[in-house]
C-alpha cells in the first residue's frame, strides 16, 4: 500500500475514463450521468406528450381512426391515461430535475469532485433506464399496457383477468415501478451523503445555494417515500402472482370467485399515497430551488429571506408526509380523520405562501434581466400561484367529495405538479445549457417557446377547472352519451386545439436544444454573471470539476449588488466581503 495511492484518492475519486464506453455509456462521472438522466427524461416526456395528444384527439373526435392505433376503445383510452401519468410522474418529473440537473450540478455547486458513490450513481441511472424500457415494453405484450391508472388501485391492478392490459402488461408496470424505486433510493442515498459529507471548505449548510437545499430535501423525501412504494409494489406482485390477498377482497369477475378474500384495497391506497403525496414535492421542490436561484440571479438582488426559504422547504417536506389521506377523502374515511388530514393540508399553504412572497420580494425593485431562464422562473411563480390556489379548495373534504373525480383535480395537479415542474426543468435547461454544452441557446427561439408554452398550458388546464365545477367526470373516454357533458364539448375542443399549439411549441425547444449544441454562440465561463461555484470553473467543467483543486468558499450564494463591491456580484470564492447589508 503506497501513500501516493491515497493522495490520489484525496482529490480525484476516480481517474478520467479513456474508452468510449466508459466515457459516454457506463460513465462514473456525475456530469455524464446527469446528461444521461436528462436525455432519458427528454425521451420520456415526448412519449408521454404523444399519449396525451392521442387522448385529446379521441375526446373530441371519438370516432376518428388513428394511424397505427386504429379506433380508440374505452379501455385503450384508459391505457393511454395510465401510461401518460406513469411516464410523466416517474420518468419526467422525478427524473429530470433531480436525476438530471441535480446529478450534474449538486457536486459542482458544493465544490465536490463527484458524487460520494460514483458506481452507485451509475447503477441508479441504468436501473432507471431499465425501468423505462420495461415500462415501454408493456405496450408491446399480449393485451397491451395496463389500464389501472398511475395510482394502480387494486383490485383492478391486482387481478390479471380484470381487463385486457391487466395480464402481463400490468406485471411489467409493477416491475418497472419497483425498479424505478430501487434507482431512486440509490440516487437519494448518493445525494444525501454527498451533501452532508463532500462540501468544500467554507461551504456551510447555510451557504449552499437553494438549489442544493432543494435537491437535498428532495432526496430525503425520496429516501423515505420510495421504500414504501417499493414494498407496496412487492405486495401487489405477490397478490397478482402468488395468490395472496393483501389488497384483494372477496371479488367476483363475471360471476366467478377469484380465490382472493379478506384483503383491503384501502391498504394499498394508504401505502401508495404515503409515497404519492411526498412524490408531488419530489417533483416540485427542485423547481422551487431553481426558481429561487434564477430570480435572484436575474434580479441582481440577494434572495429575499434565505433562511425562511430553507425552513419553508423543510416544513413543506415534513408536512408532505402528514397529508396523504387527502387523496382518500372519497374512500369512506372517518370525518375526524379527514378533518385532521384537511387541516394539515391547508397548513402547507403557509410555507408555500412564505416562498411565494419571498420570490415576489426578491424581484421587487430588482434590476430584472428578462432572459429566457428568468422568463421561465417568472412563469413558474405564476403557475405555482394559479395551480396552488386550488389546493386549499380540494383540501376540504366537503368540496373534495364533489370535485374529486372531476376535471377540477386534473386541472389542479397539471398546473402545479406538471407544468410548474416542467417550467423548472425548462428554466434549468436554458440556465445551465451553456455550462453543460459550452454554447448558449438561441434566445429568440427560447422566447417563442416560453410564450407559446405559458399561454398554451394555461389554455389547456384553466378550462379544466370550469369543467370540474360543471361536474365533468375525469377518466371518461366518451363525452357524447350524457346530455350535460355534450354541452361541454366546445370547451374540450378548445383545449385540444390549445394542446396542438403547445405541443408544436415544444418542437421549437427540441430544435433549439440540438441546434444550439452545434451552432449556438460560444459560452463564456460565467455568462449570467452568477455567483455560485459552477460558474467559477471552465465551460464545460473538467472531469474532476475544478481542474485539480478544491475551491474554498468565503461568501453566501446570493451576493448581488453588494455596496462597495467592484462588480454587482461577488462570487462565492471571492475573498470575504464586509457584510454591510
Amino acid at each position: 500500500m503506497a501513500t501516493g495511492e491515497f493522495a490520489a484518492h484525496a482529490v480525484h475519486i476516480h481517474a478520467a475514463p479513456t474508452s468510449w464506453i466508459r466515457k459516454y455509456v457506463f460513465s462514473l462521472d456525475h456530469k455524464v450521468i446527469g446528461i444521461q438522466y436528462f436525455f432519458l427524461a427528454l425521451t420520456a416526456v415526448f412519449v408521454g406528450m404523444f399519449l396525451s395528444l392521442l387522448m385529446r384527439i379521441h375526446l373530441i373526435w371519438p370516432a376518428a381512426v388513428l394511424p397505427l392505433l386504429g379506433e380508440i376503445k374505452p379501455e385503450t383510452y384508459l391505457t393511454l391515461l395510465t401510461m401518460h401519468g406513469t411516464i410523466m410522474v416517474f420518468f419526467v418529473l422525478t427524473t429530470a430535475p433531480q436525476g438530471g440537473f441535480g446529478n450534474y450540478f449538486l457536486p459542482i455547486q458544493i465544490g465536490a469532485p463527484d458524487m460520494a458513490f460514483p458506481v452507485l450513481n451509475m447503477l441508479s441511472f441504468w436501473v432507471t433506464a431499465l425501468a423505462f424500457i420495461v415500462m415501454i415494453s408493456a405496450f408491446f405484450v399480449v393485451g397491451g399496457a395496463p389500464l389501472h391508472g398511475w395510482t394502480g388501485y387494486p383490485p383492478l391492478s391486482a387481478l390479471p383477468s380484470a381487463g385486457p392490459g391487466e395480464a402481463l402488461g400490468a406485471d411489467l408496470w409493477v416491475i418497472s415501478i419497483a425498479l424505478f424505486c430501487l434507482g431512486a433510493l440509490m440516487s437519494a442515498l448518493n445525494f444525501i451523503t454527498t451533501t452532508l459529507d463532500m462540501r468544500a471548505k467554507g461551504m456551510t449548510l447555510m451557504r449552499m445555494p437553494l438549489t442544493c437545499w432543494a435537491w437535498f430535501i428532495t432526496a430525503i423525501l425520496g429516501l423515505l417515500a420510495f421504500g414504501v412504494l417499493l414494498s407496496a409494489g412487492i405486495l401487489l406482485l405477490l397478490d397478482r402472482n402468488a395468490g395472496t390477498s393483501f389488497f384483494v377482497p372477496l371479488v367476483t369477475i363475471n360471476g366467478q370467485l377469484t380465490g382472493h378474500k379478506g384483503g383491503s384495497p384501502l391498504l394499498w391506497q394508504h401505502l401508495f399515497w404515503f409515497f404519492g403525496h411526498p412524490e408531488v414535492y419530489i417533483a416540485i421542490l427542485p423547481a422551487m430551488g431553481l426558481c429561487s436561484q434564477l430570480l435572484s440571479v436575474f434580479s441582481r438582488k440577494p434572495i429575499f429571506g434565505y433562511k425562511a426559504m430553507v425552513y419553508a422547504m423543510l416544513s413543506i417536506g415534513f408536512l408532505g408526509f402528514m397529508v396523504w389521506g387527502h387523496h382518500m377523502f372519497m374512500s369512506g374515511m372517518s370525518p375526524y380523520t379527514a378533518f385532521a388530514f384537511s387541516v394539515m393540508t391547508m397548513a402547507i399553504g403557509v410555507p408555500s405562501a412564505i416562498k411565494t412572497f419571498n420570490w415576489l420580494g426578491t424581484i421587487w425593485k430588482g434590476r430584472i434581466r428578462f432572459t429566457s431562464p428568468m422568463l421561465f422562473a417568472l412563469g413558474f411563480v405564476s403557475l405555482f400561484i394559479s395551480g396552488g390556489i386550488s389546493g386549499p379548495f380540494l383540501a376540504q373534504p366537503v368540496l373534495d367529495i364533489q370535485l374529486h373525480d372531476t376535471y377540477f383535480v386534473v386541472g389542479h395537479f397539471h398546473l402545479i405538479m406538471g407544468v410548474a415542474s416542467i417550467f423548472g426543468i425548462f428554466g434549468a435547461t436554458y440556465y445551465w445549457f451553456p455550462k453543460m454544452f459550452g454554447r448558449m441557446m438561441n434566445e429568440s427561439m427560447a422566447r417563442w417557446h416560453f410564450f407559446i408554452t405559458l399561454i398554451g398550458t394555461y389554455a389547456i388546464f384553466m378550462p379544466m377547472h370550469y369543467l370540474g365545477m360543471a361536474a365533468h367526470l375525469r377518466r371518461y373516454s366518451q363525452l357524447t352519451e350524457l346530455k350535460y357533458l355534450h354541452d361541454l364539448v366546445p370547451l374540450q375542443e378548445f383545449m385540444t386545439y390549445a394542446a396542438f399549439v403547445t405541443i408544436a411549441g415544444q418542437f421549437i425547444f427540441l430544435f433549439n436544444l440540438f441546434w444550439s449544441m452545434k451552432f449556438g454562440e460560444k459560452a463564456t465561463d460565467n455568462p449570467w454573471e452568477a455567483t455560485t461555484l459552477e460558474w467559477t470553473t471552465a465551460t464545460p467543467p473538467p472531469h474532476d470539476n475544478f481542474g485539480g483543486h478544491i475551491p474554498v468558499v468565503h461568501n453566501g450564494p446570493y451576493e448581488y449588488s453588494v455596496p462597495g463591491a467592484p462588480r454587482d456580484f461577488v462570487m462565492q470564492t471571492d475573498p470575504e466581503i464586509v457584510s454591510a447589508h
Partner: protein
C-alpha cells in the same frame, strides 16, 4: 499503539487525525472514507427501515380486517394464527453468533488498516490479516439462510403456503425480505474476503468490512424485531 488498536474505529480515525503527529494524506483519507461509508450506510438503513415499517403497518392493519364468508354471508376472520417452528430459535442463535464473529472481523480489519499505515515506521510489526472471522461469519450467514429455507419447508409440510392465510403470507414475506437483505450482506462479505485474499489495499477492505459489519448488526437486530412481531402479534 495498544490504545489505538483496542479503540473502536471512529476513535481510531479521530486519534489518527487529532494525534500528536500531523495528519498525513493517508490517515485523512482512511478516516474520510470510513466516515463516508458509514454515513452512506446509515442513509441506506433508513430506506430499509421504511420498507419494514410499511410491512409492519400492513401486518397490523391486515390482521384486524374481517372478510365476508360467501356461504353464510357473515363477516369472519381469515387470519389463521401461525405456530412458529422451534427451529427458528436455532437460526436466531446462529445469526446472533455471527454478529459476534462479524464484530471480531471488523475490529481486526481496522487494526490491520491502521497497522499498515504505520508499516513505514520501523518499530511497527504488521499483523497478519489471516483470521477466520470473516469466513466464519460468511458460513454462519449462509447457515442462517439454509435454516430459514428449512423453516419454510416445515411450514409448507404443515400446509401453510404463501397464499394459505394472510398470516403465512406475511411470514414468507417478512422472512423472505430479510433473507434477501442478508444475502446482500453475504455478497459484501465475499467481496471483502476476496479483496483481502488478493492483497488489495488494507484500508479499502477495512472500509468494506466496517460498513458490512454495521449492516450485519442491523440485520440481526431486524431479525429479532421480525421474530418478535411474528411471535407476539400473532
Amino acid at each position: 499503539m495498544a490504545s489505538i488498536t483496542t479503540a473502536a474505529s471512529t476513535d481510531t480515525a479521530r486519534v489518527l487525525i487529532a494525534g500528536n503527529e500531523p495528519p498525513t494524506p493517508a490517515s485523512l483519507d482512511f478516516a474520510a472514507r470510513l466516515r463516508r461509508a458509514r454515513l452512506g450506510l446509515i442513509v441506506a438503513l433508513v430506506a430499509i427501515v421504511m420498507i419494514f415499517v410499511s410491512y409492519s403497518s400492513a401486518y397490523v392493519v391486515r390482521q384486524g380486517l374481517p372478510t365476508l364468508d360467501p356461504r353464510t354471508g357473515t363477516l369472519v376472520r381469515d387470519w389463521l394464527p401461525l405456530q412458529l417452528p422451534n427451529f427458528l430459535l436455532i437460526n436466531t442463535l446462529v445469526l446472533l453468533i455471527s454478529t459476534l464473529t462479524m464484530e471480531l472481523a471488523r475490529r481486526h480489519a481496522v487494526r490491520v488498516a491502521v497497522a499498515a499505515r504505520k508499516a513505514f515506521e520501523p518499530s511497527t510489526r504488521i499483523e497478519s490479516d489471516r483470521t477466520p472471522w470473516l469466513a466464519l461469519t460468511t458460513v454462519l450467514g449462509v447457515s442462517f439462510l439454509a435454516g430459514q429455507w428449512l423453516v419454510w419447508r416445515e411450514l409448507a409440510a404443515r400446509g401453510f403456503y404463501v397464499d394459505t392465510s394472510p398470516s403465512s403470507s406475511f411470514f414468507y414475506l417478512l422472512t423472505g425480505m430479510h433473507g434477501i437483505h442478508l444475502l446482500g450482506g453475504i455478497l459484501a462479505l465475499i467481496a471483502a474476503g476476496a479483496a483481502s485474499l488478493f492483497r488489495k489495499c488494507a484500508a479499502s477492505s477495512a472500509v468494506v468490512v466496517d460498513a458490512t459489519a454495521w449492516y450485519w448488526h442491523f440485520m440481526a437486530f431486524l431479525w429479532v424485531y421480525i421474530l418478535c412481531l411474528l411471535e407476539f402479534a400473532r
